[in-house]
Symmetry: C2
Subunit: 314 residues, 2 copies
């Protein structure tokens, strides 16, 4: 089954009201905002990746989903496969760092063993409180679409991880993303829709628009690029298109009234309008959509967008 | 690292107060009781097991941890690896059955893909409310130790799953355990300590006693055996010892004042006393402990018992 077929089948099971129809990145229960992500060696991370960075990214990407709800971090569960000593110890060191960095206490979890040679599969489940946050589906026609921080750094960092020389800050953006918890808290009470950018700016903007029943137009010329990224990849159209489709940014993408100015560092990258679909421009020039809107291993998700749904990505 | 070493390292990380020092089967947060279990193909289940039964057991064993707290079921998250169509579809059918059987709505989760040929790794995280339940560590010297239902059926069922002919009810006990939710609700307000029997009656009784700072004596002669199990395996000492060490029973083990009678079907199998350690008798005769107190693949957990701790089995 494809992911979309599987999720459609799940929707026919008894669902909790807090599951929000499996249409959002988080579930709600007892005042908590809950999100869970599983990562697989060879799919979501490389066997050669430093285990401490795998720990960081596993927790940080879950907290990014809480950030998009404007939630306060309450804690995290870890489901961990014991494999070899040095990997386990390095993972624990990174786990300690990320828990302390975001004041995220450990709540519990489970440890298992794996058959010899099996790829590692790790799960984290994060809990937030006091979410003021909107769903992805609340944008209104005429809203401006904004994104925090810069886009494309992590995509360049993946190239650096694969051997191309480049600035350490870009590699760090890929391996140690920062969940925008403070920004999410500041934005959540004011914006109409918000989500984190995990799959790529274009695909995620399309998901926000689809969930809101609107069309979205993105201006590549407005894309916020870091000085490091420009030094590494330039800033021509090809570079900006790469940045908009690379994913793993974990910045916040949000829609708000056109006249409103965000209280955090953010850049206006597009607008929402009645209708449906994703349109791309580069300044005054309309562009065709690229064939791949996001990471290749996530490309099945485009099916979810076109089906009007979302992945079950709690 | 061994599981015990890993959990000891986790205890040095920032822990949430609701983690209960990673000493219990569940965590507490915002009035919820939370438990999470991961199961691995080739470790916790066989590639040949019916996928619908894998779904049932994954959810039911999590709910068993809620039962031991006397909690009401609120819902469950699922982290699922998509593999092949027929397995996915059969899994969904079993998931539908178990969610409906225990009125457990789906809250969300995550789907991932696996590298070709990788063993399946599945996680469920269950949430309960209104837990009145005691920990494992509240037993008092002089308490009687009781167990619900019958013991050893699932262990015999595993033999049947592996090819030995036997009663279908025993196979069902192994593949489709029933979490004792109703019994847990009735018992929780009255008992001093409670846990579910997952690793084996002897090892789990030892864990309850260790957590309570007490010694425990188990009388094999008192073991509640089903008519099916007696027909399959007899009821001599060997059979009773096998039943007490087989695990996967998912019955409730609880300690209560000696003069108190449980309001549910249960059998008194032992008693708690000042001191430490596990003693075994068969009626009037004292027996040496068997070398293996529980399932072989869980035998590392005996280290946890002797270290005075518990597995991180939320």
């Amino acid at each position: 089954m494809t992911e979309a077929e599987f999720i459609a089948a799940l929707r026919r099971l008894p669902l909790h009201a807090g599951a929000c129809g499996l249409l959002d990145d988080t579930a709600r229960l007892a005042g908590l905002t809950i999100t869970s992500d599983t990562i697989v060696e060879g799919v979501h991370f490389l066997a050669e990746d430093p285990p401490s960075d795998v720990a960081w990214k596993l927790v940080a990407t879950n907290l990014s989903d809480l950030a998009a709800k404007g939630a306060l971090v309450a804690g995290v569960l870890l489901n961990y496969p014991l494999t070899d000593d040095s990997w386990d110890r390095a993972f624990l060191a990174g786990l300690d760092e990320v828990l302390r960095a975001f004041a995220c206490p450990l709540l519990g979890g489970d440890t298992v063993s794996l058959p010899a040679g099996a790829p590692r599969v790790l799960t984290a489940t994060a809990f937030g409180t006091d979410a003021a946050g909107p769903s992805r589906g609340g944008a209104q026609a005429g809203d401006a679409l904004w994104v925090t921080g810069t886009i494309g750094d992590a995509g360049a960092g993946l190239e650096i991880a694969c051997g191309r020389p480049g600035p350490p800050a870009l590699l760090a953006a890929y391996r140690r993303p920062t969940p925008r918890l403070t920004e999410g808290r500041a934005l959540a009470p004011h914006v109409h829709a918000m989500m984190d950018v995990s799959d790529g700016l274009l695909i995620d903007a399309g998901q926000l628009a689809t969930a809101s029943g609107l069309a979205v137009a993105i201006d590549l010329a407005a894309l916020p690029l870091s000085a490091d990224l420009i030094a590494f990849a330039g800033k021509d159209r090809t570079a900006r298109l790469a940045a908009a489709t690379a994913g793993d940014d974990y910045e916040l993408l949000f829609a708000a009234s056109a006249g409103w100015t965000p209280p955090v560092a953010a850049t206006r990258v597009g607008k929402l309008a009645a209708g449906s679909g994703l349109a791309l421009q580069d300044g005054p020039e309309a562009l065709p959509l690229p064939l791949m809107l996001g990471f290749e291993h996530r490309s099945v998700r485009t099916q979810l967008t076109s089906a009007g749904g979302h992945d079950l990505s709690q």
